[in-house]
């Protein structure tokens, strides 16, 4: 199975941006064990590439629609991480952006340590 075929299978597994269980099972039945492994890996990668995880300290408190406008082609997934204190952490595929109070405090601690060592 070449890359092109694999990509077509992955695109074909989605229905209106959501993974379609029926289609996935149908494709999986037709694949050999090694092909199935590649298919699962490709699906995971596709999911990662088309999803943005937003971690916030508390539920609500920000405008999801505004963020959706910034990333129109991606699916936004919200999760709660109270350790952030304030702000948010955004993961886009393998890029991580953190604008949180926790990060600021860590940076200040690091700076003070460097100054006084």
């Amino acid at each position: 199975m070449n890359r092109q075929t694999l990509k077509q299978l992955v695109i074909g597994s989605y229905n209106n941006g959501d993974l379609d269980a029926k289609k996935v099972n149908k494709i999986a039945d037709l694949l050999t064990k090694s092909e199935l492994r590649l298919y699962i890996k490709a699906l995971k990668n596709w999911e990662k590439q088309n999803k943005i995880t937003i971690e916030v300290p508390t539920e609500g408190g920000f405008n999801l629609e505004e963020l959706q406008d910034v990333f129109p082609d991606k699916k936004l997934v919200i999760s709660v991480d109270p350790s952030l204190l304030l702000g948010m952490r955004l993961t886009d595929n393998d890029d991580l952006y953190e604008m949180s109070l926790k990060n600021s405090l860590e940076k200040i601690t690091e700076h003070i340590k460097e100054q006084y060592d």
Binding site: N45, N93, D94, E98, N103, K107
Partner: protein
């Protein structure tokens, strides 16, 4: 008293030094942790040689980039790392922080102190991997680097900026030659620049490393030496990186115009560590299961030995790599590779070692491609004759084995050869200043030892040195020490001195 304005300015500077930016990182996930080698997905922006953090605390370095995964070698213990842990890039290439404070210290290849003293935090970050100086920045090797070992300084001279391999089986005194050379750097000749030393211990027992440190301390040379230790119990990654860390530290001093001696003890173990990493990474195995780029691993390291021209500071890095052979086989893969990279080799042989010749240097197989260019005029004028006489002796000795009757001249040459061989024996940790080496060579080449029994040569030499060290002969010895070419007139007082010594002692047959 510090002015209040100054205090406020210092505080303001500290505030200015703090920049708050949102944290941006390229991240990935651990897929496989295999014997110190991590395969991670993601990390699409990682670069070769970049330092990464696994699970927020464990350091690693990127060694392989493929389309959808990255291979990382761990620089710390790996037992806690599990599948799914986060891996994040740091944007830093692997390096070691170096300042003048590193002299006299024992550190690991990442600059972490192993001697219980405080870490070196302020200094210059020297990258472990660096392209060696180009041809335009270099000059010929023509200044001697004295080992204090008669056989080497006379017949296989080493120059500052040279790469001289020490090769031989285990337990034959390879490390001893290197350690003696470090110790000898305290015996500087007149007008010679100091030489700092870097000793890189790779895959050795901790006890051996401790012993070497103890000896250097005892001899008072540790304060001019940096020890980089990646012992047998350290991860393979550290053993692979140790020589590069040594080169990085040497380059810091090179940039300051210093002359540096670096000992890689030994590169066989580094090759083993690299082979282990490469096999775990799944790279194709070649001869003796080493990866295809093993030659480049050593050549790019040893190419960093250099003698810079005056415009570039005039410093030098002299490399003494050590290679361990199996059963004296110098035609194995790694030995032949390193022999071809270096500017000569000192071959130590089991047969010589077992027959009591120590250092067990096989002069026939040893060579210095820099040659007499790396000798002082004084040494050059006495060593040439010595080399010729020894070569003739070796040839005659082979013929004499047939037991045929020998003419008086041949017998004389054989007897002289035996005494020369005996004279080149030297105790460990007793490197000699150049004037004493020259004195010994003059003694044998000008026939002063011809009437001394072979078994008394060592005692004769030791007592002669003691005699020559007296105030009375200071002028004669100073002449030998000043490095200038020796003429017949200069040798007469030396002959006189030896004759005087012989009169006062009973050594004759």
């Amino acid at each position: 008293m510090i002015d209040s304005n100054d205090i406020l300015k210092q505080l303001e500077d500290r505030v200015k030094g703090f920049h708050y930016d949102a944290k941006t990182q390229n991240v990935g996930r651990v897929e496989v942790n295999h014997d110190g080698v991590i395969t991670a997905s993601g990390l699409s922006k990682a670069v070769m040689g970049e330092r990464v953090l696994i699970a927020g605390s464990v350091s690693g370095v990127v060694l392989d980039l493929t389309e959808d995964s990255v291979s990382i070698i761990l620089l710390d213990e790996s037992s806690d790392i599990k599948e799914g842990d986060t891996v994040s890039t740091t944007g830093e290439l692997l390096g070691v922080i170096v300042s003048d404070d590193i002299l006299g210290r024992v550190v690991n290849p990442l600059g972490v102190p192993l001697d219980g003293k405080s870490a070196i935090k302020k200094g210059k970050l020297m990258p472990l991997e660096r392209i060696a100086a180009g041809v335009v920045e270099r000059i010929d090797v023509d200044a001697p680097l004295k080992t204090g070992i008669k056989a080497i300084d006379a017949m296989i001279p080493i120059g500052r900026g040279q790469r001289e391999l020490i090769i031989g089986d285990r337990g034959l005194g390879k490390t001893a030659i290197a350690v003696d050379t470090i110790i000898n750097q305290k015996n500087l000749g007149k007008g010679q620049k100091r030489v700092l030393s870097v000793y890189v211990a790779i895959g050795q027992k901790q006890s051996t490393i401790a012993q070497i440190i103890g000896k250097l301390k005892e001899e008072g040379v540790l304060e001019n030496t940096v020890i980089i230790a990646a012992s047998a119990s350290d991860p393979a990654a550290l053993q692979y990186l140790a020589p590069y860390a040594g080169a990085a530290i040497a380059e810091y001093f090179l940039e300051k115009g210093e002359d540096v001696l670096i000992v890689y003890d030994d590169l066989t173990k580094q090759a083993w560590a690299y082979r282990q990493i490469s096999l775990v990474l799944g790279r194709p195995a070649g001869r003796e299961a080493y990866p295809g780029d093993i030659f480049y691993v050593h050549s790019r390291l040893l190419e960093r030995a250099v003698r810079l021209n005056k415009e570039n500071g005039g410093g030098s890095i002299t490399a003494l790599p050590i290679i361990e052979t199996q059963a004296g086989d110098i035609s194995a893969y790694i030995p032949t590779n390193v022999i071809s990279i270096t500017d000569g080799q000192i071959f130590v042989e089991a047969e010589l070692f077992n027959s009591g010749i120590r250092p067990a240097i096989n002069v026939g197989f040893s060579v210095s491609r820099v040659g007499s260019a790396a000798q002082t005029g004084a040494m050059k004028s006495v060593a040439g004759k010595m080399k010729l006489e020894l070569a003739q002796y070796r040839e005659l000795a082979a013929f004499a084995q047939f037991g045929s009757e020998l003419d008086p001249e041949t017998s004389r040459q054989l007897e002289r050869g035996k005494r020369s061989t005996e004279l080149f024996k030297q105790n460990q940790y007793h490197p000699l200043p150049e004037e004493y080496e020259i004195l010994s060579i003059i003694a044998v080449t000008r026939g002063h030892l011809d009437d001394i029994p072979v078994e008394d040569i060592s005692r004769f030499e030791a007592e002669l040195h003691e005699f020559a060290g007296g105030k009375k002969h200071q002028k004669t010895m100073d002449r030998l020490a000043n490095g200038e070419k020796l003429k017949e007139d200069d040798l007469k007082p030396v002959d006189e001195m030896i004759r005087e010594f012989k009169k006062g002692a009973d050594f004759t047959k």
